[in-house]
Amino acid sequence: MTSPAGLPAIERLPYDLARIRRDFPILKREVGSGAGLVYLDNAATSQRPVQVLAEITRFYRDHNANIHRGVHTLSVEATELYEQARAKVARFIGAAGPREVIFTRNTTESINLVAHAWARKFLRPGDEVVISEIEHHSNIVPWQMLRDERGITLKYIPMLPDGTLDLDYARTAITGRTRLVAITAMSNALGTIVPLDVIVAQAKAVGALVLVDGAQSVPHLPVDVQALGVDFLAFSGHKMLAPFGIGVLWGRLPLLESMDPFLGGGDMILTVSMERSTWAEVPAKFEAGTPNVGDAVALGAAVDYLTALGMDAVREHERALTGYALRRLADVPGVRIFGVPDADRRGGVISFELEGVHPHDVGQVLDTKGVAIRTGHHCAQPVMLALNVPATARASFYIYNTTAEVDALASGLEDVARFFGVR
């Protein structure tokens, strides 16, 4: 990893689960009728460590001002902190430089930015965008809207029954007319890790760009955009220890420079007259209006926290925990697990059903035992259709989860089955 000038190196810490858990005070709270919290809804949003909470407070207490063009001390400091956070994110994902990092609200906004600023400028009727059946709605709907507006062709790589993608079909779906392959690196509904190397090779063979939805992968897997060979990467801060409302679009600099602006307004212009305007340089061109400075700075702290743990260690922790959970849940009578049965090919996300009990009821009863899971379609209705289920229950892990928490989930599910009289 290259270290941009001015950024302090991050000292690597051993993976000490007890110490990590102490950094998250919320994990000590009780819910419902006095049960200790077992937070297994990390694919929806992570918890935040004291280091990130302290950074938010520190920014507003000591450095708060609007950024850019201010001559006073606070504005200069706030600008430096904001740009330093950009550099931290760039280093974290292996960007060529901080200018390739655009701050947005979230993954959804990042993908929409590409759909508006790149696709509307460069795509013509008949051009193809290829997505997959396991995408989150945020990587489906913007392309459907673009298709309906601009007459592009939208194709998708189907899901196989085990939750992986039909890569043979991908070979035929990605053609000489394909201009963009927009694909998730990890399914939020099933945890499937997509073999991006295969998809990128197919896309590059026909000269198509690749946009990766990294909402689930960047928080949980080592990600290096150079090694991946992709062109855009979208992700959200709130799933990786940072606050809500801050997200990232990474893009290759020449690509970003070729694009039109997204939103118009302050900060994204070079000059404005009553007749016309000219655009600021990247990344300011894509950051119209006052940005979410405080949360961007806090994202920098979150990235530092993850860097100190090491993303390889984060992945190994979750791989081991997921393997344990797959074995443990398989032993619970009536539990049916969706997706690949192999922790090497899935992230820390386990979608399942308990035979005879609706996922809503599973989640409700688990909540009384302090176990927080998500139930529903997980903003991936095509996956539910492919599985032929209306909804699933989903447990998802992060850096602080333990095997004891998996045990609490498993024994909770046994109680649910008893409660509804299905066992």
């Binding site: 009728s33 009990v357 009821d361 009863v365 009384t368 379609h377």
Partner: protein, 155 residues
Amino acid sequence: MAESGLLDDLYREIILDHYRQPRNRGAAIEPTCSADGANPLCGDQVRVDVALVDGVIGRIAFSGHGCSISQASASMMTEYAKGRTAAEALRGVDAFQQMMLTGEPPEVDGFDDVAALAGVAKFAARVKCASLAWKTLAQALAEGGGQVTTDDGSR
């Protein structure tokens, strides 16, 4: 599970009874009006078929799938509605919606079992589940029937 009084408020025995042994589910009737209801966020779906005879609900049936609350509520709704006039049934729908707001069972004739759902009001995420069949009944009784959704776009 006796340790959780809150849970017992939600899953009253009479509710679980309707869930396990739903009344008027999938009954074959010749409907004069019907409606489909959906709660897209949780995947609940219900269809309500009504056979009106001289303004009175002679027969009623529901089908679909969903959580215990939505299915039990649909079962109770059919028991409540059968034999009542359309106008009276619509007043029952209003009373049910009011119960979901207040958590208080209303003084309504025929709400004996239905009153057990009052505890759902404490669980904001489940009110949509309980309301679905009732909204769908109102839609079926409205002119022409049609579709109804509890999804107001909120999360």
